[in-house]
Symmetry: C2
Subunit: 246 residues, 2 copies
């Protein structure tokens, strides 16, 4: 089906009518549904970027493989996220399902045309791109936390706040420890030890491997922010050092 037909079915824009402006989700709503089982790859780094996807349900991981075979998780995908939007002709990373997932698929070419035609969508897409960029930068900031405690605390809070209007105390962790480790640039052992440590201090409870409950959010936040808390004696880190410029 052509773009135009899609557009008209959505009742939008090209006609200038004042009906509900289309959002990105509505563009995808008529597209084929893709389902994938845990571990299944949607596409691989380097593949021809033929499609754009929108996540409807479940969680996925985006990862890059380094020359020496190491794995870097560049992000976790949640419902609403777009995958494969780029001007490159090849996917920049591999995307694999963590849980059972459901997505909508849209041919990339047509998606681009569609977006080009509709200012509304363009605006939304731009906004999403900015969000993604911020997320990418946030990961860089996260990775530059000093201690394992800080990284894990940040990660848990990130997962707790993600997408939920109300940051919940119950946090779903469908990804494996290896995923977390490769996201935080640590080893699975250190991840495990750190979570155990938080639990033993009563900051969290870990009823099973794929979830945790945050009991003392403020403490977790302190650790995440690198505050001395009861861990270190507030060594000021490198607080004194600044570039000498005024």
């Amino acid at each position: 089906m052509t773009l135009q037909s899609v557009a008209m079915q959505d009742g939008l824009g090209t006609l200038g009518c004042s009906l509900a402006p289309p959002d990105l989700s509505s563009v995808f709503s008529l597209q084929p549904v893709i389902e994938a089982a845990p571990g299944q790859a949607l596409f691989w780094q380097g593949d021809d970027a033929k499609y754009v996807f929108q996540v409807e349900g479940g969680m996925l991981r985006a990862l890059r493989l380094l020359a020496d075979g190491r794995r870097v998780i560049v992000g976790f995908l949640h419902p609403g996220d777009l995958l494969g939007v780029s001007l490159k002709d090849r996917y920049l990373y591999t995307v694999e399902a963590i849980t059972e997932v459901r997505l909508r698929r849209y041919p990339r070419r047509r998606f681009e045309d569609e977006v080009a035609l509709q200012p509304h969508l363009r605006q939304q897409l731009f906004s999403k791109l900015c969000d993604e960029m911020t997320a990418a930068q946030d990961q860089a900031v996260l990775l530059s936390r000093r201690s394992a405690d800080e990284k894990v605390a940040n990660f848990l809070l990130l997962m707790a706040n993600d997408r939920d209007a109300e940051p919940s105390a119950f946090v779903d962790l469908p990804m494996t420890r290896l995923d977390i480790a490769d996201y935080l640039n640590m080893t699975i052992e250190t991840v495990s030890r750190t979570i155990t440590k938080f639990a033993s201090k009563g900051i969290i409870v870990a009823p099973d491997r794929r979830s945790i409950i945050i009991l003392k959010r403020h403490m977790l936040q302190s650790i995440a922010d690198g505050d001395g808390c009861d861990f270190r004696s507030a060594p000021m880190s490198n607080g004194g050092r600044r570039a000498g410029f005024a």
Copy 2:
């Protein structure tokens, strides 16, 4: 490179058109020139994002300050890069001059209007946003390098290749060791030691503090890629571990 915003190299693209449609640089060419001395800030994280800038000459650093006062360098800005392009109303980080710099300034509102009106500019901006996102991810990948050697080697190669069509053996390092350290998430001591080590192995020469010359690019590349090289006995790192999924 990596900014909230967009760091983009200019000038490219638009090819294919005989009639030279306006490109981003030409949009800036009539705007007021801003000059800044080393150490001077263009704007601070949290400031009202009133302007978009394009770098014409010199180098700057974009940095974020963490709650505990730590400094994270999220990117170095080169000629052609844009700063401040974003949907947010406030700058997401501070930008300071490293060398003497010259920029063009454009009111953000007008810039957005301009871009909205001209499909050509829109396309360019979108393209740069994507590049920018890639850059942000690249930093995350860089930060998740295991050893100090790998990080510094990658950094030197990055600086060597940056923007230059021909990767030069002479690399300019106008930033301080502290800047490098805060970019790579290391201490100045380790940065210094690593550079010294490379020099003592004959991989590079460091005639003065603000520049180095790469003598054995292939070796530097091997180290950057985490190859055993003559450093470690190719321990396969965690090459064996992969998610168990096919």
